[in-house]
Protein backbone atom coordinates (compact mmCIF):
# COMPACT_ATOMS: atom_id res chain seq x y z
CA UNK A 1 0.00 0.00 0.00
CA UNK A 2 1.30 3.38 -0.99
CA UNK A 3 1.84 6.19 1.48
CA UNK A 4 -0.02 9.49 1.50
CA UNK A 5 1.96 12.60 2.34
CA UNK A 6 0.53 16.11 2.25
CA UNK A 7 2.60 18.99 3.55
CA UNK A 8 1.00 21.39 6.00
CA UNK A 9 0.11 24.85 4.77
CA UNK A 10 -1.07 27.98 6.50
CA UNK A 11 -4.66 26.70 6.50
CA UNK A 12 -4.41 22.94 5.95
CA UNK A 13 -2.95 20.21 8.16
CA UNK A 14 -0.06 17.89 7.55
CA UNK A 15 -1.22 14.45 6.47
CA UNK A 16 1.25 11.64 6.96
CA UNK A 17 -0.09 8.15 6.30
CA UNK A 18 2.85 5.77 6.02
CA UNK A 19 1.89 2.08 6.29
CA UNK A 20 5.49 0.93 5.89
CA UNK A 21 6.51 2.41 9.23
CA UNK A 22 2.96 2.29 10.59
CA UNK A 23 2.59 5.99 11.23
CA UNK A 24 -0.75 7.63 10.59
CA UNK A 25 -0.99 11.31 11.45
CA UNK A 26 -3.09 14.42 10.86
CA UNK A 27 -1.50 17.49 12.41
CA UNK A 28 -1.95 21.26 12.55
CA UNK A 29 -4.68 23.64 11.49
CA UNK A 30 -7.54 22.89 9.16
CA UNK A 31 -9.54 25.80 7.82
CA UNK A 32 -9.29 25.62 4.04
CA UNK A 33 -11.64 27.53 1.81
CA UNK A 34 -12.78 24.26 0.34
CA UNK A 35 -12.54 21.41 2.84
CA UNK A 36 -14.09 18.89 0.44
CA UNK A 37 -11.31 19.39 -2.10
CA UNK A 38 -8.65 19.06 0.54
CA UNK A 39 -9.97 15.90 2.19
CA UNK A 40 -10.94 14.13 -1.07
CA UNK A 41 -7.53 12.43 -1.52
CA UNK A 42 -7.53 11.48 2.18
CA UNK A 43 -10.86 9.65 1.76
CA UNK A 44 -9.66 7.88 -1.39
CA UNK A 45 -6.59 6.68 0.43
CA UNK A 46 -8.50 5.64 3.55
CA UNK A 47 -11.09 3.64 1.58
CA UNK A 48 -8.38 1.74 -0.26
CA UNK A 49 -6.30 1.12 2.83
CA UNK A 50 -9.01 0.09 5.29
CA UNK A 51 -10.69 -2.22 2.84
CA UNK A 52 -7.48 -3.96 1.84
CA UNK A 53 -6.41 -7.26 3.33
CA UNK A 54 -3.00 -6.06 4.49
CA UNK A 55 -4.23 -3.88 7.36
CA UNK A 56 -2.04 -4.74 10.36
CA UNK A 57 -3.60 -5.96 13.61
CA UNK A 58 -3.39 -2.57 15.20
CA UNK A 59 -3.61 0.82 13.51
CA UNK A 60 -3.20 3.97 15.59
CA UNK A 61 -4.29 7.17 13.88
CA UNK A 62 -3.01 10.31 15.54
CA UNK A 63 -5.25 13.36 15.38
CA UNK A 64 -3.09 16.28 16.47
CA UNK A 65 -5.15 19.25 15.46
CA UNK A 66 -4.51 22.71 16.85
CA UNK A 67 -7.71 23.92 15.32
CA UNK A 68 -10.29 23.01 12.70
CA UNK A 69 -13.28 24.89 11.31
CA UNK A 70 -16.80 23.46 10.99
CA UNK A 71 -16.36 22.67 7.30
CA UNK A 72 -13.38 20.49 8.27
CA UNK A 73 -15.23 18.95 11.22
CA UNK A 74 -17.69 17.46 8.76
CA UNK A 75 -14.91 16.03 6.62
CA UNK A 76 -13.28 14.55 9.72
CA UNK A 77 -16.64 12.91 10.51
CA UNK A 78 -16.63 11.47 6.99
CA UNK A 79 -13.14 10.07 7.44
CA UNK A 80 -14.14 8.45 10.72
CA UNK A 81 -17.26 7.05 9.10
CA UNK A 82 -15.15 5.44 6.36
CA UNK A 83 -13.07 3.77 9.06
CA UNK A 84 -16.13 2.76 11.07
CA UNK A 85 -17.76 1.20 8.01
CA UNK A 86 -14.67 -0.76 6.98
CA UNK A 87 -14.22 -4.46 7.80
CA UNK A 88 -11.06 -3.57 9.75
CA UNK A 89 -12.67 -1.08 12.11
CA UNK A 90 -11.88 -3.06 15.23
CA UNK A 91 -8.17 -2.80 14.61
CA UNK A 92 -8.23 0.98 14.72
CA UNK A 93 -7.51 3.31 17.61
CA UNK A 94 -7.96 7.06 17.26
CA UNK A 95 -5.51 8.96 19.41
CA UNK A 96 -6.99 12.39 19.98
CA UNK A 97 -4.50 15.03 21.18
CA UNK A 98 -5.52 18.27 22.88
CA UNK A 99 -3.99 21.08 24.93
CA UNK A 100 -4.93 21.16 28.59
CA UNK A 101 -6.65 24.54 28.32
CA UNK A 102 -8.30 23.77 25.00
CA UNK A 103 -11.60 22.35 26.22
CA UNK A 104 -13.20 22.90 22.80
CA UNK A 105 -10.77 20.47 21.18
CA UNK A 106 -11.40 17.89 23.89
CA UNK A 107 -15.16 18.34 23.45
CA UNK A 108 -14.84 17.88 19.69
CA UNK A 109 -13.02 14.58 20.28
CA UNK A 110 -15.63 13.46 22.80
CA UNK A 111 -18.32 14.18 20.26
CA UNK A 112 -16.74 11.94 17.63
CA UNK A 113 -16.14 9.29 20.26
CA UNK A 114 -19.81 9.34 21.18
CA UNK A 115 -21.03 9.27 17.58
CA UNK A 116 -18.65 6.72 16.11
CA UNK A 117 -18.20 3.10 16.91
CA UNK A 118 -14.42 3.27 16.96
CA UNK A 119 -11.97 3.04 19.83
CA UNK A 120 -10.73 6.46 21.01
CA UNK A 121 -7.86 7.41 23.30
CA UNK A 122 -7.39 10.94 24.58
CA UNK A 123 -3.94 12.35 25.09
CA UNK A 124 -3.23 15.66 26.76
CA UNK A 125 -0.32 17.47 25.10
CA UNK A 126 2.69 18.02 27.30
CA UNK A 127 4.07 21.54 27.59
Amino acid sequence: MEALHIEASEDTPKIYFEPEVEIYLLEGKSLPENAIDFYGPVFDWAKKFFESSDVPDSVVINFKFDYFNTASSKQIAKLLRIIEDSPNNEKVTIKWYYDEEDTDMLKAGNRYNKLMNIHFEFVMNKE
Binding site: L31, T70, K74, R81, D99
Partner: protein
Protein backbone atom coordinates in the same frame (compact mmCIF):
# COMPACT_ATOMS: atom_id res chain seq x y z
CA UNK B 1 -34.84 41.93 27.10
CA UNK B 2 -34.79 41.60 23.37
CA UNK B 3 -31.96 40.06 21.50
CA UNK B 4 -31.51 39.06 17.93
CA UNK B 5 -32.07 42.41 16.33
CA UNK B 6 -29.37 45.00 16.63
CA UNK B 7 -30.66 48.43 17.47
CA UNK B 8 -30.95 51.00 14.71
CA UNK B 9 -28.04 53.06 15.97
CA UNK B 10 -25.62 50.19 15.96
CA UNK B 11 -26.79 49.10 12.57
CA UNK B 12 -26.30 52.65 11.32
CA UNK B 13 -22.74 52.62 12.60
CA UNK B 14 -21.93 49.38 10.85
CA UNK B 15 -23.47 50.46 7.59
CA UNK B 16 -21.83 53.88 7.72
CA UNK B 17 -18.47 52.21 8.05
CA UNK B 18 -19.24 49.91 5.20
CA UNK B 19 -20.53 52.63 2.92
CA UNK B 20 -17.24 54.44 3.28
CA UNK B 21 -15.87 51.71 1.10
CA UNK B 22 -16.51 51.95 -2.58
CA UNK B 23 -14.90 50.36 -5.55
CA UNK B 24 -11.17 49.91 -5.05
CA UNK B 25 -11.36 51.26 -1.56
CA UNK B 26 -10.29 49.70 1.66
CA UNK B 27 -10.18 50.49 5.29
CA UNK B 28 -8.00 49.02 7.90
CA UNK B 29 -8.10 50.37 11.41
CA UNK B 30 -6.31 49.18 14.49
CA UNK B 31 -6.87 50.71 17.89
CA UNK B 32 -5.05 49.52 20.96
CA UNK B 33 -1.63 49.03 22.39
CA UNK B 34 1.06 48.88 19.74
CA UNK B 35 3.63 46.21 20.43
CA UNK B 36 6.46 45.31 18.08
CA UNK B 37 4.61 42.12 17.21
CA UNK B 38 1.40 43.88 16.34
CA UNK B 39 3.24 46.52 14.33
CA UNK B 40 4.96 43.78 12.32
CA UNK B 41 1.64 42.15 11.59
CA UNK B 42 -0.04 45.33 10.51
CA UNK B 43 2.80 45.85 8.09
CA UNK B 44 2.52 42.28 6.84
CA UNK B 45 -1.21 42.64 6.35
CA UNK B 46 -0.70 45.84 4.42
CA UNK B 47 2.05 44.33 2.34
CA UNK B 48 0.21 41.20 1.29
CA UNK B 49 -3.33 42.35 1.14
CA UNK B 50 -4.17 45.98 1.55
CA UNK B 51 -1.79 47.51 -0.89
CA UNK B 52 -3.46 46.76 -4.17
CA UNK B 53 -1.80 44.34 -6.46
CA UNK B 54 -2.00 46.56 -9.51
CA UNK B 55 -0.15 49.39 -7.81
CA UNK B 56 3.44 49.84 -8.93
CA UNK B 57 6.20 48.64 -6.64
CA UNK B 58 7.55 52.12 -6.04
CA UNK B 59 4.17 53.21 -4.70
CA UNK B 60 3.85 50.14 -2.48
CA UNK B 61 7.27 50.86 -1.03
CA UNK B 62 6.26 54.44 -0.41
CA UNK B 63 3.06 53.46 1.42
CA UNK B 64 5.00 50.88 3.38
CA UNK B 65 7.72 53.35 4.41
CA UNK B 66 5.26 55.98 5.53
CA UNK B 67 3.41 53.31 7.54
CA UNK B 68 6.63 52.28 9.26
CA UNK B 69 7.36 55.87 10.27
CA UNK B 70 3.82 56.40 11.50
CA UNK B 71 3.76 53.19 13.52
CA UNK B 72 7.15 53.91 15.06
CA UNK B 73 5.88 57.31 15.99
CA UNK B 74 3.06 55.70 17.96
CA UNK B 75 5.22 53.13 19.77
CA UNK B 76 7.76 55.79 20.69
CA UNK B 77 5.22 58.10 22.27
CA UNK B 78 3.42 55.21 23.90
CA UNK B 79 6.59 54.27 25.74
CA UNK B 80 7.10 57.86 26.83
CA UNK B 81 3.86 57.98 28.70
CA UNK B 82 4.11 56.00 31.88
CA UNK B 83 1.08 57.34 33.65
CA UNK B 84 -1.82 55.01 33.58
CA UNK B 85 -4.26 56.86 31.40
CA UNK B 86 -7.42 54.98 30.71
CA UNK B 87 -7.31 55.68 27.04
CA UNK B 88 -3.67 55.25 26.28
CA UNK B 89 -4.60 53.50 23.07
CA UNK B 90 -2.97 54.42 19.84
CA UNK B 91 -4.83 54.41 16.56
CA UNK B 92 -3.62 53.49 13.13
CA UNK B 93 -5.71 53.95 10.01
CA UNK B 94 -4.87 52.88 6.49
CA UNK B 95 -7.42 53.76 3.90
CA UNK B 96 -7.58 53.72 0.14
CA UNK B 97 -10.15 55.80 -1.60
CA UNK B 98 -10.36 57.29 -5.06
CA UNK B 99 -6.86 56.11 -5.95
CA UNK B 100 -5.30 57.65 -2.89
CA UNK B 101 -3.79 56.13 0.21
CA UNK B 102 -4.54 57.85 3.48
CA UNK B 103 -2.45 57.12 6.52
CA UNK B 104 -3.49 58.47 9.88
CA UNK B 105 -1.99 57.87 13.30
CA UNK B 106 -3.27 58.99 16.65
CA UNK B 107 -1.61 58.78 20.03
CA UNK B 108 -1.53 60.37 23.42
CA UNK B 109 1.06 63.04 24.11
CA UNK B 110 1.70 65.41 26.99
CA UNK B 111 0.23 68.86 26.59
CA UNK B 112 3.68 70.30 27.21
CA UNK B 113 4.81 68.84 23.90
CA UNK B 114 2.12 70.45 21.77
CA UNK B 115 4.01 73.61 21.14
CA UNK B 116 7.24 72.01 20.03
CA UNK B 117 5.42 69.46 17.86
CA UNK B 118 3.41 72.19 16.19
CA UNK B 119 6.59 74.09 15.46
CA UNK B 120 8.26 71.04 14.01
CA UNK B 121 5.37 70.11 11.74
CA UNK B 122 4.92 73.67 10.52
CA UNK B 123 8.61 73.82 9.81
CA UNK B 124 8.46 70.55 7.84
CA UNK B 125 5.37 71.70 5.94
CA UNK B 126 7.02 74.98 4.97
CA UNK B 127 9.82 73.23 3.10
CA UNK B 128 9.88 71.91 -0.44
CA UNK B 129 11.48 68.62 -1.51
CA UNK B 130 15.02 69.94 -1.84
CA UNK B 131 14.83 71.94 1.35
CA UNK B 132 13.50 68.90 3.23
CA UNK B 133 16.48 66.88 2.13
CA UNK B 134 18.86 69.57 3.34
CA UNK B 135 16.95 69.87 6.61
CA UNK B 136 17.11 66.12 7.09
CA UNK B 137 20.88 66.23 6.60
CA UNK B 138 21.29 69.09 8.96
CA UNK B 139 19.46 67.33 11.74
CA UNK B 140 21.38 64.12 11.17
CA UNK B 141 24.65 66.03 11.40
CA UNK B 142 23.88 68.44 14.19
CA UNK B 143 21.06 66.61 15.91
CA UNK B 144 18.98 69.17 17.66
CA UNK B 145 15.39 70.44 17.51
CA UNK B 146 13.69 67.42 19.00
CA UNK B 147 13.71 66.77 22.70
CA UNK B 148 11.66 63.61 22.19
CA UNK B 149 14.40 61.43 20.79
CA UNK B 150 14.16 61.61 17.03
CA UNK B 151 10.51 62.48 16.59
CA UNK B 152 11.73 65.31 14.41
CA UNK B 153 13.38 62.92 12.02
CA UNK B 154 10.31 60.74 11.83
CA UNK B 155 8.20 63.69 10.78
CA UNK B 156 10.68 64.72 8.13
CA UNK B 157 10.78 61.15 6.83
CA UNK B 158 7.00 60.96 6.66
CA UNK B 159 6.87 64.17 4.70
CA UNK B 160 9.69 63.11 2.39
CA UNK B 161 8.40 59.62 1.75
CA UNK B 162 4.80 60.62 1.21
CA UNK B 163 5.83 63.58 -0.90
CA UNK B 164 3.04 65.43 0.78
CA UNK B 165 2.28 67.81 3.59
CA UNK B 166 1.48 66.59 7.09
CA UNK B 167 -1.89 67.33 8.51
CA UNK B 168 -2.18 67.37 12.28
CA UNK B 169 -4.63 67.97 15.06
CA UNK B 170 -4.60 67.93 18.84
CA UNK B 171 -7.56 66.96 20.91
CA UNK B 172 -7.38 67.71 24.59
CA UNK B 173 -8.02 64.78 26.93
CA UNK B 174 -7.32 66.43 30.28
CA UNK B 175 -4.96 68.90 31.97
CA UNK B 176 -1.98 66.75 31.19
CA UNK B 177 -2.65 64.89 27.94
CA UNK B 178 -3.94 65.35 24.43
CA UNK B 179 -4.46 63.14 21.42
CA UNK B 180 -2.10 63.93 18.61
CA UNK B 181 -3.33 63.06 15.14
CA UNK B 182 -1.06 62.96 12.16
CA UNK B 183 -2.29 62.43 8.66
CA UNK B 184 -0.83 62.23 5.21
CA UNK B 185 -1.91 61.09 1.77
CA UNK B 186 -0.17 59.28 -1.05
CA UNK B 187 -1.71 59.38 -4.52
CA UNK B 188 -1.71 56.10 -6.44
CA UNK B 189 -1.93 55.26 -10.13
CA UNK B 190 -4.57 57.30 -11.87
CA UNK B 191 -4.91 59.90 -9.13
CA UNK B 192 -4.36 63.56 -9.53
CA UNK B 193 -1.28 64.58 -7.72
CA UNK B 194 -2.63 66.67 -4.93
CA UNK B 195 -0.94 68.34 -2.04
CA UNK B 196 -2.77 68.50 1.25
CA UNK B 197 -3.80 71.91 2.32
CA UNK B 198 -2.78 71.91 5.98
CA UNK B 199 -5.64 74.26 6.72
CA UNK B 200 -8.27 71.96 5.24
CA UNK B 201 -10.72 71.44 8.05
CA UNK B 202 -12.62 68.73 6.16
CA UNK B 203 -9.92 66.15 6.67
CA UNK B 204 -9.55 67.18 10.28
CA UNK B 205 -13.24 66.62 10.74
CA UNK B 206 -12.90 63.17 9.31
CA UNK B 207 -10.18 62.35 11.81
CA UNK B 208 -12.07 63.54 14.87
CA UNK B 209 -15.33 61.91 13.71
CA UNK B 210 -13.51 58.66 13.22
CA UNK B 211 -11.91 58.90 16.63
CA UNK B 212 -15.27 59.55 18.22
CA UNK B 213 -16.81 56.60 16.42
CA UNK B 214 -14.00 54.27 17.51
CA UNK B 215 -14.20 55.42 21.11
CA UNK B 216 -17.96 55.17 21.32
CA UNK B 217 -17.97 51.64 20.02
CA UNK B 218 -14.70 50.74 21.69
CA UNK B 219 -13.45 49.32 18.43
CA UNK B 220 -10.21 47.35 18.36
CA UNK B 221 -9.91 46.34 14.74
CA UNK B 222 -11.81 47.19 11.59
CA UNK B 223 -11.26 45.50 8.30
CA UNK B 224 -13.30 46.73 5.41
CA UNK B 225 -12.35 45.28 2.08
CA UNK B 226 -12.79 42.18 0.00
CA UNK B 227 -13.35 39.02 1.95
CA UNK B 228 -11.22 36.13 0.82
CA UNK B 229 -9.19 33.38 2.40
CA UNK B 230 -6.00 35.44 2.19
CA UNK B 231 -7.36 38.40 4.13
CA UNK B 232 -8.80 36.01 6.70
CA UNK B 233 -5.43 34.39 7.26
CA UNK B 234 -3.75 37.79 7.65
CA UNK B 235 -6.27 39.03 10.16
CA UNK B 236 -6.01 35.80 12.11
CA UNK B 237 -2.27 36.26 12.45
CA UNK B 238 -2.91 39.64 14.08
CA UNK B 239 -5.40 38.12 16.50
CA UNK B 240 -2.92 35.38 17.36
CA UNK B 241 -0.31 37.96 18.32
CA UNK B 242 -2.72 39.99 20.44
CA UNK B 243 -1.89 40.01 24.09
CA UNK B 244 -4.95 38.22 25.34
CA UNK B 245 -4.03 36.40 28.48
CA UNK B 246 -6.71 33.78 28.22
CA UNK B 247 -5.90 31.06 25.68
CA UNK B 248 -9.43 29.74 25.51
CA UNK B 249 -10.77 33.23 24.82
CA UNK B 250 -8.27 33.76 22.07
CA UNK B 251 -9.21 30.43 20.53
CA UNK B 252 -12.86 31.37 20.64
CA UNK B 253 -12.27 34.69 18.94
CA UNK B 254 -10.17 32.89 16.34
CA UNK B 255 -12.82 30.22 15.83
CA UNK B 256 -15.69 32.68 15.57
CA UNK B 257 -13.79 34.86 13.13
CA UNK B 258 -13.15 31.91 10.84
CA UNK B 259 -16.79 30.85 10.81
CA UNK B 260 -18.10 34.39 10.28
CA UNK B 261 -15.59 35.18 7.55
CA UNK B 262 -16.07 31.93 5.68
CA UNK B 263 -19.79 32.34 5.96
CA UNK B 264 -19.51 35.59 4.01
CA UNK B 265 -17.07 34.10 1.51
CA UNK B 266 -19.56 31.30 0.80
CA UNK B 267 -22.92 32.99 1.17
CA UNK B 268 -22.43 36.71 0.76
CA UNK B 269 -23.84 38.41 -2.30
CA UNK B 270 -22.42 41.37 -4.05
CA UNK B 271 -23.50 43.91 -6.59
CA UNK B 272 -20.45 42.94 -8.51
CA UNK B 273 -18.61 39.81 -7.70
CA UNK B 274 -14.96 40.40 -8.22
CA UNK B 275 -12.08 38.00 -8.35
CA UNK B 276 -10.83 39.47 -5.13
CA UNK B 277 -13.85 38.30 -3.21
CA UNK B 278 -16.98 39.76 -1.76
CA UNK B 279 -17.05 43.18 -0.23
CA UNK B 280 -17.54 43.07 3.49
CA UNK B 281 -16.85 44.65 6.81
CA UNK B 282 -15.44 43.02 9.89
CA UNK B 283 -14.75 44.62 13.22
CA UNK B 284 -14.04 43.70 16.81
CA UNK B 285 -15.10 45.87 19.67
CA UNK B 286 -15.13 45.28 23.40
CA UNK B 287 -16.90 46.24 26.57
CA UNK B 288 -16.19 45.30 30.18
CA UNK B 289 -17.70 41.86 29.90
CA UNK B 290 -17.22 40.72 26.34
CA UNK B 291 -15.64 40.98 22.94
CA UNK B 292 -18.05 41.68 20.10
CA UNK B 293 -17.32 40.30 16.66
CA UNK B 294 -19.29 41.93 13.88
CA UNK B 295 -19.64 41.34 10.18
CA UNK B 296 -21.56 43.24 7.53
CA UNK B 297 -22.14 42.29 3.92
CA UNK B 298 -24.65 42.40 1.10
CA UNK B 299 -27.22 39.69 0.79
CA UNK B 300 -30.01 39.04 -1.72
CA UNK B 301 -33.42 40.00 -0.38
CA UNK B 302 -34.71 36.62 -1.47
CA UNK B 303 -32.49 34.90 1.10
CA UNK B 304 -33.55 36.95 4.10
CA UNK B 305 -36.60 34.99 5.15
CA UNK B 306 -34.85 31.66 5.25
CA UNK B 307 -31.78 33.07 6.97
CA UNK B 308 -33.84 34.88 9.64
CA UNK B 309 -35.71 31.68 10.37
CA UNK B 310 -32.50 29.74 10.70
CA UNK B 311 -30.89 32.33 12.99
CA UNK B 312 -33.97 32.57 15.20
CA UNK B 313 -34.23 28.81 15.33
CA UNK B 314 -30.63 28.45 16.48
CA UNK B 315 -30.92 31.40 18.88
CA UNK B 316 -33.89 29.86 20.63
CA UNK B 317 -32.25 26.54 21.39
CA UNK B 318 -30.68 25.75 24.72
CA UNK B 319 -27.27 24.15 25.05
CA UNK B 320 -28.52 20.57 25.00
CA UNK B 321 -30.68 21.14 21.94
CA UNK B 322 -27.81 22.85 20.14
CA UNK B 323 -25.51 20.00 20.99
CA UNK B 324 -27.94 17.45 19.55
CA UNK B 325 -28.57 19.61 16.50
CA UNK B 326 -24.82 19.74 15.92
CA UNK B 327 -24.57 15.93 16.11
CA UNK B 328 -27.37 15.53 13.58
CA UNK B 329 -25.90 18.05 11.19
CA UNK B 330 -22.41 16.65 11.54
CA UNK B 331 -23.56 13.24 10.38
CA UNK B 332 -25.99 14.51 7.77
CA UNK B 333 -23.83 13.86 4.75
CA UNK B 334 -26.67 14.91 2.46
CA UNK B 335 -25.87 18.49 3.46
CA UNK B 336 -22.30 18.51 2.37
CA UNK B 337 -20.94 20.76 -0.32
CA UNK B 338 -18.10 23.23 -0.58
CA UNK B 339 -20.76 25.86 0.10
CA UNK B 340 -22.43 24.35 3.07
CA UNK B 341 -21.63 22.13 5.98
CA UNK B 342 -24.54 23.65 7.89
CA UNK B 343 -22.57 23.87 11.10
CA UNK B 344 -21.08 27.36 11.29
CA UNK B 345 -23.84 29.18 13.13
CA UNK B 346 -24.52 26.28 15.50
CA UNK B 347 -20.82 26.12 16.31
CA UNK B 348 -20.60 29.84 17.09
CA UNK B 349 -23.64 29.55 19.35
CA UNK B 350 -22.21 26.52 21.16
CA UNK B 351 -18.74 27.94 21.68
CA UNK B 352 -19.68 31.49 22.59
CA UNK B 353 -22.68 30.37 24.63
CA UNK B 354 -24.55 33.52 23.72
CA UNK B 355 -27.21 34.49 21.22
CA UNK B 356 -26.31 35.93 17.85
CA UNK B 357 -27.36 39.46 17.02
CA UNK B 358 -28.45 40.11 13.46
CA UNK B 359 -30.18 42.66 11.32
CA UNK B 360 -31.08 43.43 7.73
CA UNK B 361 -31.07 46.90 6.26
CA UNK B 362 -32.88 47.19 2.97
CA UNK B 363 -30.75 48.76 0.25
CA UNK B 364 -32.90 48.34 -2.86
CA UNK B 365 -35.35 45.87 -4.34
CA UNK B 366 -32.64 43.29 -4.81
CA UNK B 367 -30.15 43.68 -1.96
CA UNK B 368 -29.99 44.22 1.75
CA UNK B 369 -27.13 44.82 4.12
CA UNK B 370 -26.83 41.97 6.57
CA UNK B 371 -25.05 42.36 9.89
CA UNK B 372 -24.21 39.60 12.29
CA UNK B 373 -22.80 39.95 15.79
CA UNK B 374 -21.31 37.32 18.09
CA UNK B 375 -20.34 37.89 21.70
CA UNK B 376 -17.43 36.28 23.47
CA UNK B 377 -17.44 36.53 27.22
CA UNK B 378 -14.32 37.72 29.02
CA UNK B 379 -15.14 35.62 32.04
Amino acid sequence: MSHGLLNKEKLGFIYKLFKAMQKNNLNYIYRGVFTANITDNILALAESNLVHKEDPRALKRKVYNVMVEGLQNITKHQADIEVDVENNYGVFVLKKEHFKYFITTGNLIENDDIESLTKQINQVNSLDKVELKAYHREILLHGKISNKGGAGLGLIDMARKSGNKLLYAFEKVDEKFSYFYLHTEIPSKGAERSIINPNNSKTLNYISALHKMLDEENVLIIFNSYFNQESLMNLLSIIEKQMLNNVQQKKRIYNTMVEMFQNIIQHGDDYKETEEGKAGLFYISENNDEYLLNTGNYILNSKIERLSKKLNYVNNMDYKELDEFYDNRLLDFEIDSSKEAGLGIIDIRLKTDSKLGFSFLNIDDKYSFYTLRAKISKK
